[in-house]
């Protein structure tokens, strides 16, 4: 009985793939299947590349640690145009407004590096312990 059922299943699938109408149908589906497979492989290659770059980053961790120890700050040197962009963690609150009279934020890097709210907020009061609930995230 099991054999008969298996036979029926096999014959169903065989006829499915040998049917000329279905064969035509499959050609188009197969074509897109291949394209999607290429995309999936591309995505897998992207993830593999990201992983290998992360491993390379891990290998230079000791160099970064030594540099941070020597320089005393972990702030990134992405922009040295203003002190609050160069050292967002060590600049005083409102530093962004202090570069020139009436200057708000002239540098496009301000779109990327904003002073951390919780750091600059309590800093104005002088201690790190207090929080500003209306600005906390």
């Amino acid at each position: 009985m099991v054999c008969a059922r298996l036979e029926r299943v096999v014959s169903h699938h065989t006829s499915f793939f040998t049917d000329p109408e279905m064969s035509l149908m499959m050609n188009r589906v197969r074509c897109h299947g291949v394209a999607l497979l290429v995309l999936a492989l591309g995505t897998a290659a992207m993830l593999a590349d990201a992983s290998s770059r992360r491993a390379a980053q891990g290998r230079r961790a000791a160099e970064v640690e030594a540099a941070v120890r020597l320089l005393g700050t972990a702030d990134l040197a992405l922009s040295s145009a203003s002190r609050w962009l160069r050292h967002p963690s060590l600049s005083e609150p409102g530093a962004a407004f202090a570069d020139a009279p009436a200057l708000l934020d002239a540098d496009p890097a301000g779109a990327l590096i904003g002073p951390p709210f919780e750091v600059s907020g309590p800093g104005a009061g002088g201690t790190a312990g207090r929080t500003m609930p209306w600005r906390s995230r």
Partner: protein
């Protein structure tokens, strides 16, 4: 299976018959995905770089605010702070900025205390060339890669920098490694004594105090005690920084948001186009299908296949394009805009923070709304009278 494949085949044929529209939708979706993914990839990679070094920061950094700006802090405070229970070390630091008109920007001057915390640093690890300034030596400097490149200096060269009414001469004894350019690109590293002279910081004063604690979790308590000891002090907590620095790359949407607005608008226009109704051709097609006995669920399934395919192609191409743009090409255009007007751009290779989970989330965020939006008008059309659809009256 056979039924679903037949519907998929019909959907593919349907997409092929409207090749122009299908291609436009796919490309538009790919562009929107690429724009959002590029910014996401770049900011996530920068955040990851920052996290590499944040663990080594002092538990507390004590500054003194004068007229709302950081002023110099008396080294005498260091002794008082060191007496607080739980404080293991207090290091007065001397650092600052030097504005160079020719550079149209600042470079960062750091005084390294080779008798203190910098003593244990292995020069071979952090320097690409040369050595660190000798203990007690004067007139020796280590330069960041971008700064040395901008000034055209290499190890063994000398530079004379104006200070006050006079000038100070430095010999370049070392260059930082390019692998740490993100931290050291604009740095002029001097001995503590040289930095004090160069930045005109009087003896007995410092730029700030770095405080190390035996139990970092007690930073808030220690900060409170320091605030009582040093009136007007600004105390930066590393743990707080660690938690909140994550936000610094994206708290201000600013220009990035503005840059993405056109892409977002394009996507919304597309979505609106899909929402407000199907075209006359599709309407007739749905009418024919309804007339020959297709069920609503079958028509919707065919549309689902068609739009899923467009969504998958668009999201896939967008993600791959964004990755190539950011990590292989170095994000030309986006990088210049985001990095500001500085003359010193660090040359760095970012490590992508892209994971399978992120790819899945971005893909889902793009594909699901698109497919959902596109099903609504099709469902509307299928509920109408097939004759009306064929005649174009409904």
């Amino acid at each position: 299976m056979r039924r679903h494949l037949a519907l998929a085949r019909f959907a593919l044929g349907s997409g092929g018959r409207r090749a122009g529209r299908t291609l436009t939708l796919t490309l538009a979706l790919a562009l929107v995905t690429a724009a959002f993914s590029a910014v996401l990839f770049l900011t996530e990679a920068l955040r990851r770089e920052y996290r590499l070094g944040v663990g080594l920061l002092p538990d507390l950094t004590v500054q003194r605010l004068v007229a709302g700006r950081p002023g110099l802090i008396a080294e005498a405070h260091a002794r008082a702070i060191a007496a607080i229970r739980g404080v293991t070390r207090v290091e007065p630091r001397v650092w600052g900025y030097y504005f160079v008109p020719a550079l149209a920007g600042n470079f960062t001057v750091v005084g390294a205390d080779f008798a203190g915390p910098s003593a244990g640093v292995n020069p071979g690890v952090v320097l690409g060339e040369g050595r660190l300034p000798g203990r007690g030596a004067t007139g020796e400097a280590v330069l960041g890669e971008a700064l040395a490149g901008f000034l055209g200096l290499s190890v063994g060269d000398a530079i004379e920098l104006p200070v006050g009414n006079g000038s100070q001469r430095f010999e370049v004894v070392g260059l930082f490694r390019s692998s740490v350019a993100l931290w050291s690109a604009d740095v002029l590293l001097l001995s503590l004594e040289d930095a004090r002279r160069f930045l005109q910081v009087p003896e007995g004063e410092a730029t700030d105090l770095a405080v190390r604690l035996s139990t970092p979790d007690e930073a808030t308590v220690a900060a409170g005690k320091i605030a009582e000891l040093v009136p007007g002090a600004r105390i930066v907590d590393r743990q707080l920084l660690d938690r909140t620095y994550d936000l610094t790359f994206d708290t201000r949407g600013g220009l990035m948001g503005a840059m993405l607005l056109p892409a977002l608008a394009a996507f919304l226009v597309l979505a609106w186009d899909r929402l407000t109704g199907v075209g006359p051709g599709e309407r007739r097609e749905i009418g024919v299908l309804r007339a020959v006995g297709w069920k609503t669920s079958e028509i919707l399934e065919a549309r689902l296949w068609e739009n899923l395919l467009i969504g998958a192609y668009g999201a896939g191409l967008g993600l791959l394009g964004a990755y190539g743009y950011v990590f292989l090409l170095g994000a030309p255009g986006l990088r210049e805009v985001l990095m500001g007007w500085s003359s010193l751009y660090p040359a760095f290779d970012l490590a992508p923070a892209v994971t399978a989970g992120q790819v899945l989330v971005v893909g889902t965020l793009v594909v699901v709304p698109f497919v959902t939006l596109s099903l609504v008008p099709a469902w509307h059309a299928t509920t109408r009278d097939p004759h009306g659809l064929l005649r174009g009256t409904t």
